[in-house]
């Protein structure tokens, strides 16, 4: 109870605090402190849930079960490391004169606000509140993406706002339909939007309505997940916003959107008893893996490059959950974890790299390794990890996903492997060019915060070689919930 209260309240309070004092020199410290406190609270919550099992709180509006508690912990962790990273990053941006003090205030308070919405979306039990939180997350991130106020960033933000706004609207319609169907079973006062209640009665829900509802929800939240062909906002938003924002977008927002889809999938599967939702997710998952892998080789902007890679991995996860079953869902959850850890680590490294080069153009970034070995190795290892090279954890999950696919959908496995091969060729070629060679980049004024990078990569490496038993157990339970 209290833990969750803290988890949700701390970001909110620190957002307000930063809205007031965000322009002070100490703002980054407040930011990090707030994130750290959130992390601690989240850890406590996790321990609690491991100990006592699922919790339902605040007259059932909030609940925590194995599925979302690990996402909460992950979100808090990545939020914290990102805040650490953004300290020197934002300083450098400020020194380069790209950000005024006022903007820094906006950035800090919005960052915390964003974390708050994420955590609400993850921990709420009410599909409506989930929707509200997702919309709020969109609004906050729109502000963050447009932070630089350059034409490019405004364009990106605009597209982001319109596309995701429309998408979210569809999701609302889907929610209404679910409510509509549930009300006929639970009655208007029966908490017809509370997932726990729905989960109980899901067998009795009207199949046709739920299938239509799922279509709307899938298109809606799928837009935020970045499923092809709804993904078009994603590369722009990743490329034009400040790098910490790209990191949390890739690392957290996409996960949360996907989490929403999964929650709905559980209900729909219960109601339909068919593999309708699964097939939908498999189809879009495949599409979402294949298309971006072909985009990669054309990219000139490094953050755009990794944006597309995020889309690809979201597709892979969607595919995994679409297949369902203990192994695939396990792999999907694992992939969520390692992807957000790795991708945010990559963005940290990329951010500093871009600052060193003074540009995001891949062709103008060369020889990172010579100037700053840590950044160079961070980027290189991160890329190798995200490309599914053992012994990093991404390979673990991809191994499980692919082997399951070989078993059940051999044709899909072939397609996936081709796409992954193309992605490897394209992406590694570009990154190698940036990391190796004679340097064109200058060293940084402030010494970069690369602790997060290596903490993340260390975790990913560990997950590649050894998944701690309790974590595995946790994944198993979550996978059982998803089915």
């Amino acid at each position: 109870m209290t833990e969750l209260a803290f988890v949700l309240a701390i970001p909110l309070l620190s957002a307000l605090l930063l809205a007031l004092f965000g322009h002070h020199r100490g703002a980054p410290e407040i930011n990090s402190a707030g994130s750290l406190a959130t992390l601690v609270a989240a850890a406590a919550l996790t321990v609690r849930v491991i100990g006592e099992g699922p919790l339902v709180l605040f007259d059932e509006q909030f609940f925590v079960d194995p599925l979302n508690v690990f996402l909460i912990a992950l979100t808090a962790l990545v939020g914290f490391t990102t805040s650490l990273f953004s300290r020197p990053y934002m300083r450098v941006e400020h020194d380069h004169g790209r950000l005024s003090v006022g903007r820094l205030r906006l950035y800090h308070s919005m960052f915390q606000m964003f974390m708050c919405t994420m955590l609400v979306a993850l921990s709420t039990n009410n599909l409506g509140i989930l929707w509200v939180a997702m919309e709020a997350a969109t609004l906050t991130t729109v502000l963050l993406v447009a932070l630089y106020r350059t034409p490019a960033s405004l364009e990106a933000a605009w597209k982001y706002f319109i596309l995701c706004g429309v998408g979210i609207a569809q999701a609302l319609f889907g929610t209404i339909l679910i409510y509509f169907a549930a009300e006929r079973v639970l009655g208007p006062l029966g908490g017809a939007l509370l997932w726990t209640h729905l989960d109980v009665v899901k067998g009795g829900l009207e199949p046709t309505v739920l299938s239509l509802a799922f279509v709307f929800l899938f298109v809606g939240y799928g837009t935020k997940t970045g499923l092809v062909p709804l993904h078009n906002w994603l590369p722009d938003a990743h490329a034009e916003g400040p790098t910490p924002v790209s990191a949390v977008l890739s690392g957290l927002l996409l996960n949360v959107a996907l989490y929403a889809i999964i929650r709905c999938k559980v209900l729909v599967d219960g109601a339909l008893g068919t593999h309708f939702a699964g097939n939908l997710m498999i189809a879009f998952g495949l599409l979402t893996v294949v298309v971006p892998s072909f985009y990669l080789s054309r990219q000139k902007d490094v953050k755009r490059l990794f944006g597309y890679s995020s889309i690809e991995h979201m597709g892979l996860i969607t595919f995994a959950f679409g297949m369902g079953g203990p192994v695939a869902s396990f792999a999907g959850l694992l992939h969520m974890t390692v992807h957000s850890l790795t991708k945010s680590a990559i963005f940290f490294a990329v951010g500093h790299a871009a600052q060193m080069a003074g540009t995001q153009m891949i062709d103008d970034i060369k020889g990172l390794l010579k100037r700053s070995p840590t950044i160079g190795w961070g980027l290189m290892l991160g890329t190798l990890a995200i490309l599914g090279m053992p012994p990093f954890g991404v390979f673990t999950s991809e191994f499980m996903i692919l082997t399951t696919a070989i078993k059940h959908y051999p044709w899909a496995a072939a397609i996936l492997l081709t796409a992954l091969g193309v992605a490897f060729a394209a992406m590694f070629h570009k990154v190698q060019g940036m990391v190796f060679g004679e340097p064109t980049v200058r060293p940084l004024a402030h010494n970069p915060a690369l602790l997060p990078v290596f903490v993340h990569l260390g975790l990913v490496l560990m997950l590649g070689l050894w998944i701690p038993p309790y974590l595995a157990e946790w994944y198993r339970q979550a996978a059982k919930l998803i089915g």
Partner: protein, 669 residues
């Protein structure tokens, strides 16, 4: 605590390598420590590993399960005869290479010494793990880690675009290959979905699935082994790596691919089909011929050796293919003969190719030149390297009484039995293949004479070569170790064959030992003495007797007067070092005879050139026929797909709109 088995000790050795690497990375700049203590320590561990493997070859298989890996698929390890043999190869070769590397390492070259130490020993450890792995996941992890370490080692001089390109090509192709291997495991695990090798052994898939698995594995391991047409990365990557790494890649990493191939083809798959063997034969012959022809026309000494590696791997594949053919006809002992030849050749190649690569390393350090056109006459300045390289070259040329000859002899003996096969075409065609093998061996002789002669003999083609210095003490030690290996493996074939016997028994259920051993250590007679026999010992002894005898006789009955004069050369008056055959010149007959193999581009001088210039570039046609088209295809695909994203928000909205409507209609209908 339970007492430690051999497999545990092997594991501990691998961990020891890792520990060495970590110590290196912790003290990255402490050059003295790394070169003087860590690398020799690594060499010592390699020796230990070799001894353990030696003990393990005869022993019963041992298994261990580590608490690592996936929750429901922990790392399974297994130490049986096959893995023991390849571990022996690894240890014995790596010992020489490591001790050499200890002397070879220079401060301020390529990557920081500490990092180099980590990658180098990481590579060793991962290779050991590849040999030990007993489930798909552990194997893939070890396999890709190996590729990764090798990639970083290749790229250690990454300021040159050429090297970056080579390294990229290497990692890309080996990654694609790994995908193939993964699929092969998937097929072998089948519907059971259990990825331990034991399960795969049990799982008897039927119909065309075994063939699918075999072909996938062939593709996967072929990329690493560098067989045609998957070889293009090899002549790029092997030469540009630091020489000890080149030696490791050619000497050992290629063998891991052979190991995988054997593991899949003979151990994991429950049937062996004849046409697999024929396929391997064809591919092997093609690779061998292609490799040796290209080796003969190279102008870069390390590229030459790299192509020669392709040739040798091709020969190994020929042996494996032959074994498969015999196995498919239920002739275990003949299969054992062929497989023995293949494994023997693996061992030999590991020794002489590492030796040669290390020699080029010393030459590189002494002269800074890889281009054959700028070397020559080094035997005067670096006698040690030269004479040891001569041993390597002779062995690589497959000449008695050195080791290269023994394996080729066994291979040819194997071919002599193909006439007895109960199959209409094979018994006609396969014996003639022996002719091709002989041609390949002879061409290898050509290439090796070119290599040794141009680098070490003749007059120096550049002034700076006069300052060339011989290899240091540790480097000499490493070279000596490998050269001794070449000689001993050539002299004691029966010992080696007795060593190989458990492997062939494990894989084929047949062996040579009972006949081979029956004639004593000095006489090799795999089938029977009057069938075929070869005794390198007598061979060497008699030559070694003759030479001093003749020398003594000449000196005894005649005088030994000798005066140094200028070279005669048909009395041709003014001679410069440029008048000797260059590498191109030496390769000219090959270029002429095998012209269809090459893609040649020439630059002719016009009659009016003030400084006429002639160039002839020989390239690999496969690159243009196979790889560029694929690249273009992908490029085209990207162009098509990129068209989807025009930047217009209206279009994007339309996408969502259409998606929504389609889904609605589909769901409704």
């Amino acid at each position: 605590m339970r007492q430690l088995l051999l497999i545990d000790w092997v594991l501990i050795t691998a961990l020891g390598w890792l520990a060495i690497g970590l110590v290196g990375i912790v003290l990255p700049r402490n050059f003295a420590l790394i070169s003087r203590y860590l690398f020799p320590l690594g060499a010592a561990l390699a020796l230990v590993l070799a001894l353990l493997a030696l003990a393990a070859i005869g022993a019963a298989p041992q298994v261990r399960i580590l608490p690592l890996g996936l929750p429901d698929l922990p790392f399974h390890l297994r130490l049986d005869a096959l893995s023991a043999f390849f571990l022996l190869l690894l240890g014995a070769t790596a010992a020489g290479i490591s001790i050499y590397a200890a002397g070879y390492l220079r401060p301020g070259e390529g990557t920081a010494p500490g990092l180099h130490c980590l990658l180098y020993h990481g590579l060793l450890a991962s290779m050991a793990m590849v040999m030990l792995a007993d489930d798909g996941y552990a194997f893939m992890v070890a396999w890709e880690t190996m590729a990764l370490c090798a990639y970083f080692l290749v790229a250690s001089e990454h300021r040159y675009a050429e090297i970056r390109r080579a390294a990229y090509l290497y990692l890309l192709i080996s990654h694609v290959g790994a995908v193939g291997i993964l699929l092969a495991f998937g097929v072998m695990a089948g519907s059971a979905g259990d990825y331990t090798f034991d399960a795969m052994r049990e799982f008897s898939s039927n119909g065309y699935w075994p063939s699918v698995a075999f072909l996938l594995a062939l593709f996967g391991f072929g990329t690493k082994a560098g067989i045609l047409p998957l070889h293009v990365w090899l002549p790029e990557a092997h030469p540009v790596a630091p020489s000890p790494v080149s030696a490791m890649m050619s000497g050992i990493i290629l063998k891991t691919a052979i190991y995988g191939m054997l593991r899949v083809a003979f151990d994991l798959l429950h049937v062996q089909l004849g046409w697999w063997g024929v396929l391997l034969l064809v591919i092997g012959l093609a690779s061998a011929l292609f490799g040796v022809i290209f080796a003969a026309v190279q102008t870069d000494m390390k590229r030459l050796l790299a192509y020669s590696s392709i040739e040798n791997i091709g020969l190994v594949f020929v042996g494996i293919g032959l074994a498969l053919v015999f196995k498919s006809f239920q002739l275990p002992n003949l299969a054992a003969l062929a497989l023995t030849a293949a494994l023997y050749h693996c061992l030999n190649h590991a020794f002489f190719k590492s030796l040669l690569f290390l020699c080029t390393g010393s030459v590189l350090h002494a002269t800074g030149e890889r281009n054959l056109g700028k070397l020559g006459g080094l035997i005067h300045h670096m006698p040690w390297v030269a004479w040891l390289a001569l041993i390597g070259a002779l062995a690589s040329a497959g000449l008695p009484p050195l080791n290269g000859f023994v394996s080729e002899w066994l291979l040819l003996q194997g071919f002599l039995f193909t006439a007895g096969l109960p199959h209409g075409y094979l018994n006609m065609l396969l014996p003639t293949v022996a002719g091709a093998v002989a041609l390949i061996a002879a061409l290898a002789g050509f290439a090796m004479v070119k290599f040794f002669g141009v680098v070490f003999l003749g007059q120096p083609r550049e002034e700076k070569l006069a300052q060339a210095h011989d290899a240091g003490r540790l480097e000499r030690l490493g070279l000596l170790w490998l050269a001794a290996g070449c000689v001993l493996l050539g002299l004691l074939p029966n010992v080696v064959i007795a060593l190989l016997d458990p492997v062939t028994r494990q894989l084929l259920g047949g062996g040579l030992s009972y006949t081979a051993a029956s004639h004593g250590w000095w006489l090799l007679a795999p089938i029977s003495e009057d069938r075929a026999s070869y005794s390198p010992a007598i061979f060497l002894v008699s030559i070694a007797l003759f030479i001093p005898l003749v020398y003594w006789a000449v000196r005894r009955y005649y005088h030994g007067r000798l005066t140094r004069v200028a070279a005669w050369d048909c009395g041709f008056p003014l001679q410069t070092s440029r008048m000797q055959d260059t590498a191109e010149g030496f390769g000219q007959p090959i270029r002429r005879i095998f012209s269809p193999f090459f893609k040649r581009t020439r630059e002719h001088p016009s009659p009016f050139d003030t400084q006429p210039r002639y160039r002839s570039i020989v390239e690999d046609p496969l690159w243009y026929w196979l790889y560029l088209p694929v690249a273009r295809l992908v490029e085209h695909g990207t162009r098509l797909i990129a068209f989807l994203q025009q930047g217009r928000i209206a279009i994007y909205l339309l996408y969502s709109f259409v998606t929504l409507l389609t889904l609605l209609v589909l769901t409704r209908g």
